[in-house]
């Protein structure tokens, strides 16, 4: 396969929340047509990276180019035009609770197109069939299980035929069966619809089954990147700790705190005084 130009390109990207740096000097390429996983321990800014890529947040420094748009300056109609080329699967699905499953999937079509009702019905039913939930079209979101809600949201995310599909922690809180379904859908939608998929997750074993390329974030930058096999044989301590699930290592078990015995023996502290 020839090396196509990256569809997402981050160079020396930096971002901070309330003065606390999340990213400093992050470099990352996401190639079109692939499933790219972004992994990392909780709190390393995986979701923040997604929000930067989708333009919900704005980079503070460096450059971030998504599908040819400079994310530092894009706003208004240009941002909405870019988002029409993207789909995003939120952690809990984020279905609109006052609309049925069918209407949720039809929502982007109704908002952005003047398609006749017959065609909308056709498109929605084919997308629901693809996620195996055509039979649930008339249910309300409150009647769905967590896994079903996520599949409906997936159908909604692809209904406008996006180029980029972004998944925020798609495996959290799923039973093994639903998890297997989502895994299969990520791969199948990516290949049949010709998408570029970006999956943020910390489920090492699940994500390495489907990802073509994996980035491991740590300490505000990319600690390692490559195919799942390359990552598994990576000698770095951070990668070993994360992939092996070791409780202590470069990412410490303890949140930074003053000396333990010193604090226990301290007399003039709080109500113990």
């Amino acid at each position: 396969m020839s090396q196509a130009a990256p569809i997402v390109e981050a160079r020396n990207l930096s971002y901070a929340v309330n003065g606390r740096p999340i990213f400093s000097g992050l470099d990352l390429d996401i190639l079109p047509g692939r499933v790219t996983a972004v992994m990392g321990p909780s709190g390393t800014g995986k979701t923040t990276l997604l929000r930067l890529i989708t333009g919900q947040l704005r980079p503070l420094g460096g450059s971030l180019v998504v599908a040819g748009q400079d994310m530092r300056t894009v706003r208004g109609d240009a941002l909405y035009a870019l988002r029409k080329r993207m789909g995003m699967l939120f952690q809990n699905g984020a279905l609109l609770t006052d609309l049925s499953v069918f209407e949720n999937v039809a929502f982007p079509l109704r908002e952005h197109t003047d398609l006749p009702e017959r065609l909308i019905r056709l498109i929605v039913l084919t997308k629901l069939q693809a996620v195996g939930l055509r039979g649930a079209a008339s249910l309300m979101p409150s009647e769905l299980s967590g896994g079903m809600a996520r599949r409906v949201a997936l159908a909604r995310a692809v209904v406008m035929d996006p180029e980029i599909l972004v998944y925020d922690e798609p495996f959290v809180g799923l039973d093994p069966i639903s998890l297997g379904m989502i895994l299969r859908l990520i791969r199948r939608l990516n290949d049949t619809l010709g998408l570029t998929s970006i999956v943020v997750s910390h489920d090492v074993h699940e994500i390495t089954q489907v990802a073509d390329r994996v980035y491991l974030l740590s300490g505000g930058r990319v600690a390692a990147g490559g195919t799942p096999a390359e990552l598994a044989s990576n000698p770095s301590a951070v990668v070993k700790q994360f992939v092996g699930g070791l409780p202590d290592g470069p990412v410490p078990f303890h949140y930074p705190a003053p000396d333990y015995f010193g604090e226990l023996l301290e007399r003039s502290h709080g109500h113990s005084a």
Binding site: R83, M88, A94, L95, L96
Partner: protein, 253 residues
């Protein structure tokens, strides 16, 4: 003490600035939102239609109390026949707009604030943004406009039911002459009385709807935040309505 007072005053002024900016944003987006009449109609039903029972019941009781108190007072001067006039002017100019607005804040305003707040907390607003749908235009504005349309209609219904209640007590129970009850009312109530009530309820409608959608839209996306937004909607609406009522009454003198 003074420092605290100063801080809360500065906070209140800051809040006033934020909500004014929010209103400007709503007005800027309003032309495009007005095209979606189906969405607005649904919200007129949600805010207005679903508040109808509580408005009608309250109107009936307020009218009945007005009938009793008015009769008792007017009887001292031997002018019970003026009961119709007193009830009509009291209701149309003052009681209907104010009580409707307070009930609206409690019934529809809280529903709006918690609905929008929960949509924020469950990422529904972010999901809309990701689908290139502006939540201000799709969610906030239809609800804002629906509330503005519903409020004067509710106040008018409140007046009507209230007059029926006053008549029920005054004429049917206390024996005021039916003919003079209605004819004196007809002669005394002028168009400017009706206008005063209409203007008041329109302005209360704008204020209550704005406070509700603002509190919901900027609610902290947690259970506590949504609860706080709901409470603040009722409290702020009530104080603002009563304050505006004084200003408007003064302006109509």
């Amino acid at each position: 003490m003074i420092g605290e007072l100063r801080r809360s005053l500065v906070g209140a002024l800051g809040g006033l600035g934020d909500i004014s900016l929010f209103l400007v944003r709503l007005i800027a987006d309003m032309p495009r939102a007005l095209l979606r009449f189906d969405l607005i109609a649904k919200q007129v039903f949600n805010s207005g239609g679903l508040s109808l029972i509580i408005i009608m019941l309250s109107g009936l009781f307020v009218g009945m109390v007005l009938g009793l108190q008015g009769f008792e007072l007017l009887q001292r001067f031997g002018s019970e026949e003026a009961l119709g006039t007193a009830a009509a002017i009291g209701l149309v100019r003052e009681l209907s707009p104010v009580i409707t607005a307070l009930l609206f804040a409690g019934r529809a305003g809280t529903a709006l604030a918690s609905e929008i707040g929960l949509m924020r907390a469950t990422d529904q607003l972010s999901a809309m943004e990701m689908m290139a749908v502006d939540p201000i235009r799709r969610v906030v504005l239809p609800r804002f406009l629906g509330g503005i349309i519903a409020m004067p209609l509710l106040a008018a219904i409140f007046s009507m039911i209230g007059l029926y209640g006053a008549q029920l007590v005054g004429v049917q129970m206390m024996g005021v002459d039916s003919g003079s009850f209605w004819s004196q009312m007809q002669a005394a109530v002028e168009l400017r009385d009706i206008n005063e009530g209409l203007v008041k309820s329109a302005i209360f409608g704008i204020a209550c709807s704005l406070i509700a959608v603002y509190e919901g839209y900027y609610a902290q996306p947690t259970a506590e935040g949504v609860g706080l937004a709901t409470t603040r909607t009722v409290v702020t609406s009530a104080v603002v309505v009563l304050f505006l009522d004084y200003l408007l009454t003064f302006a109509f003198l």
